[in-house]
Symmetry: C2
Subunit: 429 residues, 2 copies
Amino acid sequence: MSILIKNSTILTQDDSRKKIHGDLYIDDHVVVECSEKPLSLEAEFKIDGTNRLVLPGLINTHTHIPMTLFRGYGDDMLLQDWLAQRIWPVEAKLDKKTIEIGTQLGLLEMISSGTTSYLDMYFFEETIAKVTEKTGMRGFLGFALIDFDTPEFESKELISQADQFIRRWRNNPLISPLIAPHSTYSCKPETLQNALDIATKHHVPLHIHCSETRDEVYDVEKKYGVRPVGLLKKYGLLKNETILAHCGWITKNEILDMKNVGVSVAHCPVSNMKIATGGFAPVPELLDARVPVGLGTDGAASNNTLDMFETMKFCALVHKNHRWDPTILPAQTVVDLATRGGATTLGVQHSLGSLEGGKTADLIMIDLKKPHLTPLHDPVSHLVYAVRGTDVCTTIVNGAPLMLEKEFLTIDVEKTLEQSQKIALELTS
Amino acid sequence: MSILIKNSTILTQDDSRKKIHGDLYIDDHVVVECSEKPLSLEAEFKIDGTNRLVLPGLINTHTHIPMTLFRGYGDDMLLQDWLAQRIWPVEAKLDKKTIEIGTQLGLLEMISSGTTSYLDMYFFEETIAKVTEKTGMRGFLGFALIDFDTPEFESKELISQADQFIRRWRNNPLISPLIAPHSTYSCKPETLQNALDIATKHHVPLHIHCSETRDEVYDVEKKYGVRPVGLLKKYGLLKNETILAHCGWITKNEILDMKNVGVSVAHCPVSNMKIATGGFAPVPELLDARVPVGLGTDGAASNNTLDMFETMKFCALVHKNHRWDPTILPAQTVVDLATRGGATTLGVQHSLGSLEGGKTADLIMIDLKKPHLTPLHDPVSHLVYAVRGTDVCTTIVNGAPLMLEKEFLTIDVEKTLEQSQKIALELTS
């Protein structure tokens, strides 16, 4: 498939952060050229880029996509109450059908708000993979391991099921399977080791929640004599291709342990602030230590959206506020986190995160002709401080348009919204 | 003019926070009835409310509307650098024409994102008033006093000009003039006293920046021996119908001074976090002391939007994060701040802030049929945690539609966006 975008402003997000005004040509899943000279080429899709900003698609490095069904079902509650009274009871009712619909809804929201890759961790990941592939979205899908029976499998089956899941999906152009032991407080050391074995055997990344709350750090230290990062280090999980979600309560010494080993962090400021864990990843220090950092929304149940633009603004502002320093995490750095940083976090910086000849064509277009985006002094500023996910008009993944000028090409919107509402009410009634 | 909204979900925001599904009828600027039974009435405008949420229009209690032209012109800078290098030089170039266009742009953004009343403080307030009235928006417009010449008047003229401004506008149905001494660090005590005299003489509110930054508190205390709240108390300004913007650095003792005297607070979390003043109003303590609190965006130059929905989410989350307590400022409380709280802050709770028979018809409608607003478990949760300003489809002020299903009835959008872009680039070049 070929696509020609004409007459647009293009944020390449390449090494020099070049902005150009011109044309962009995509063929066979790949960005062929970003050109300041008009390109006269035939293409299956010709897109008028006037008043549009083109940039690499955003990469959401931590979510639980079916939980989109639980958006707004339980806010303003203490974490344990929320889990015990709201989330766990409805999760127990999940099955393939509900997961399918929740995934479809999450994909619809992500496509509509400019996300082109997402890192997931949940039950029923096989079902999630099928829906994601069918929709044309790029998914890095973590098969969750945990020391109790899930709504899908008995606990003892999980390792072999994970192994099969990874075998089935490992050569898919859109789906990258990975292994996702839930956390150091919900997985015993043996489970962590099994997860590591699978990751090593298949050369796939490993994704795990780490030091999200004070309670977790306290409990793990009490049980094992080391904090979560230390425990991961002890069992060899603190390594290249491990992605730690949250890291809200890590120390400077732990950052030294994370330095130079290739481990990366998914920073989820909105969810952290809403659940009020009191901590969020020390991004400036992580970047100083050259630890790759990406941004994540976490599940819509604790956010309550999957809007990466909102996450960018919260990221920029929560750190400025915390340090009493407006120069911390300037707009360009935050756009980097959501694009290049996400790609590096997932280990796919060779193919994603910037728009350059030869890179995979995952990109989005923003409609700039809006009251809240006028005037335009600096598009990078707007991306962090003024654009909302709803300003995205076109989303292209792997060279294929999934949303074109607000029209969805691979999802039946009416049906998805209707089914989601119905299923969500059934689950929570 | 009469308007009939049919078959909608209505958040009345009345004393019992009643939600009803039904019809709403407006006649002659006033809400006549919210009814669960279908109303069969003739009306000039009939609006289908299916899949729509109706609520009182949001009240922005602190902004500087023409600064919308400076959106994104200088981010991530230290406050003094930003003011000295970016803001003051462009403000010096402002004139009636540029103010007119900046105001028009700000109004367009506010109408499009669900604000129906705004409290302003700036130069050229006469021009702002004319544009606001013409557009049909409700403005509480503060004539700024400051101890130096403004781009409009010499300093010595300001008091008499303010007096005339208030006389001209005091009986307007849309415009409520007020007096706005800039702050205790930029106005000498004589100016504060003059402001108080005018407020008293005309029975109009007084609006002032107060304790926004640590520097300000330090400087005022060093100069006068008391902190800003103390200085306002000393000169009699801490009283009913005084609205303090920010209050980011106030003490528990100062809250005691503010208790029971009728003074109110405009809380601006996004601007505070972006400028990184390190402080933001202690809203839970203010509410405990029954000090009225409203929400404000501040100017778009330091936000960078006028989106009150975003401000609601930041408000809820920054306090939860700060206190390590997710139960602080639950969604209903935050919706109250943006509606009823704003009305009480401005002293107009008898006419605005809720939808009840006899109240003034300032209201908005949200299009709920969106991926990021599905499923709908609780509309109040959505308003704070999931709705963006861009989801507002209809805005009605004083019984007149200003935006109807995304179509603007009183502003030429194309022209406003084009002129704003042109003027903004001229000002900053």
